[in-house]
């Protein structure tokens, strides 16, 4: 297996395929498991480990983070303040998304020549793109400033946990990242710098685990309990799998019949490829580049291209200006 290989999978559900995927790649274990997305249920890992068919060690990132927060109160206060600020920024970004959506809808129903409406639609998409990009940039800047101010590697408790994680990873053949709460997962992986510690070991991840490895994490749900919602960028991801937006569990979360919605979303995310990952889907990256896939792709013409193999398809992504 090539160094730097990353394999992203769809949700595991009740019939996990992670064991078969690990075996396909010649992994015999032990593997290191990240279950921080399950938060307080992190330790309830027996069934998951059993599905691997090989020895696995839980890195206990959530538990370790609780220890850090208890043992390093100054850092914790600052960390919580950063998280609160990120939440506020997310809320304000979300408010602005609504306004752009309103404007796009208002313009789109005007009785003018179709060619002008098509131009206006591009303007609307561009506004979404700029807002998304600004949001990620501001989140990045906040995280970077926090890292500069607090020099995580110098905090004794964090450093100790990082060393312990490094030691465990040294005994493992691969890193496996389960799904769960995507923000919680992202924060714990970053806090302990797990990907850096894993060096070039192969990484297998699914659902939220797959989302955090891309360069942009997008939250989405076409059927929220409050009626309707717009997809929103949460933050930059960890960037091991570039050029894709991972959309797990699309059957439950995406209105696949809404061609206009899919089209606008795919254009908004372009040139990244929007990949809908059901159970059984797979994408393989080598050194950050997608080499093969077995998933569905949302196209910029509003189609769902089932059986997408990861190669260029007949649908092309338009290049739309971005500040990034």
């Amino acid at each position: 297996m090539k160094p730097g290989t990353v394999v992203l999978l769809g949700p595991q559900g009740t019939t996990p395929d992670i064991g078969a995927v690990l075996a396909d790649h010649g992994i015999r274990g032990p593997v290191a498991l990240v279950r921080a997305g399950y938060q307080e249920r992190e330790a309830e890992d027996e069934a998951m480990k059993a599905s691997f068919g090989m020895p696995a060690v839980n890195l206990d990132l959530h538990k370790r983070s609780v220890e850090v927060f208890r043992g390093d109160p100054d850092f914790t206060v600052a960390y919580q303040a950063r998280q609160q600020r990120l939440r506020h920024m997310q809320t304000f970004y979300r408010v602005r998304l609504d306004k752009i959506e309103d404007a796009a809808r208002t313009v789109s129903v005007r009785y003018v020549e179709p060619e002008l409406l098509a131009q206006e639609e591009k303007v609307s998409v561009d506004q979404f793109r700029h807002l998304d990009a600004d949001h990620v940039e501001r989140c990045d800047a906040l995280r970077a400033a926090f890292a500069r101010n607090w020099r995580l590697s110098d905090r004794p408790l964090i450093a100790r946990h990082r060393e312990e994680i490094r030691a465990i990873l040294a005994t493992c053949e691969a890193l496996v990242i389960a799904g769960g709460h995507v923000a919680s997962l992202l924060n714990r992986l970053a806090l302990f710098d797990v990907l850096q510690l894993a060096a070039a070991k192969p990484v297998f991840a699914w659902a939220a685990g797959a989302m955090v490895l891309t360069d942009r994490i997008v939250l989405f749900h076409d059927y929220p309990p409050y009626g309707s919602d717009i997809a929103q960028v949460l933050d930059a991801g960890l960037g091991l799998a570039r050029g894709v937006v991972v959309l797990p569990d699309p059957r439950r979360r995406i209105n696949m019949d809404a061609r206009g919605g899919i089209q606008r979303f795919a254009r908004r995310m372009a040139p990244a490829t929007c990949v809908a990952m059901e159970h059984g889907s797979r994408m393989t990256f080598e050194l950050g580049v997608l080499v093969r896939a077995s998933a569905a792709r949302l196209t910029t013409t509003g189609e769902v291209e089932a059986g997408w193999k990861g190669s260029p398809s007949r649908f092309s992504s338009p290049v739309i200006g971005s500040r990034r």
Binding site: P11, Q12, G37, E40, V66, R70, Q84, T91, V95, A178, G179, G180, H181, V182, A183, S184, A207, A208, M211, L219, H221, P224, P225, Y226, G227, D229, L234, P248, D249
Partner: protein, 378 residues
Amino acid sequence: MIGRAITALEAGPRTREAVDAFFAGHSFPIVDGSSITFVWRGDAEAVHLKHWVFGLPSSQQLSRVEHTDVWHLTLQLPPGSRVEYKLEVVRNGHGEWRQDPLNSNLARDPFGANSVAHGTGYEIPSWIHHDPTAAKGHRDEIWIESNTFGRRGFGLYVPARFQRNRQYPLLVVHDGHDYIRYASMHSVLDNLIDRLEIADAIVVFTSSPNRLGEYADDPRHAKFLVEELVPFVERLFPLDTQPQSRCLMGASFGGVATLSTAARYPGFFGRLLLQSGSFAFTDIGDRNHRGPLFDPVVAFMNRFRAEPAPVSERVFVSCGMYESLIYENRSLVPLLLSTGMDVRYVEARDGHNWENWRDRLREGLSWLMPGPFLHVYE
């Protein structure tokens, strides 16, 4: 307007056997597309349908199928409707209100129980029922020694998996005990939290012995909530004290109490859920046709309408289309929006009743206090 089932009955022999067969062959009231037929069987001088659908006569007489003891009335009922009603049976010149004996659907409220008609497409939400697989929150009764109101009890809901080292949002519910009794609120909270649709929250259920007085913009009520009750609960539990993590809600006069408390303490509650609020107002003069109980409400609403202010951040408003208060609630929405607050408004084909308020809880609470469902991908 006569329903098809009645037309068929009238076209037949009208024997006891035929009538028995008619009753055995239908469920009641008979819903047929967008029409509904109420039926009663028995001897009477008259039978009336009594309901609370604003816009229709509140009492309508049923007709008798000649040579039978079958009474019927067919009305138009738009899809998705839910209507509470009783039948008034007049005998010896005396009318008696009773539940429809042919309909087992009942809705309870503090005054008893009404029969319920479900229009085509209305479904009782699945998330209101006790779900044995959902983790159960714990409920308790607590007492507070209030400087404002003396000794007062309130209900308290603590979510399953509560942990002292976490911070929780707070939801304060006016007429809270009625929400538990008549709007299945304990099960609703358990289910919506378990489904990750609303945040794990500490919930306080308040009740007042004088709700029509205290809820009508009484400054003592707002002071009690903000200066006594919430700080008291904050001493008991690890609560997030940011406005975004405090939600206040209520229905009817409880909706007025919610908005007026927010107006008296702007920014304290960052989330408001207003259900069928009794937001009576006048455009000229200060007397409202609803009577003197509403006078303080009218005074408050007229002041708020004159100078609307962003008293909270996010407000969810719901009202039934069949309520007399629909005009007041519809009027409130653009006013709230004009302040810059984030506002959502939903209408339902329902009346001023607890099951209407129950049915809107998922939509309202999940928007005001969202759980992690948007962040969880397993």
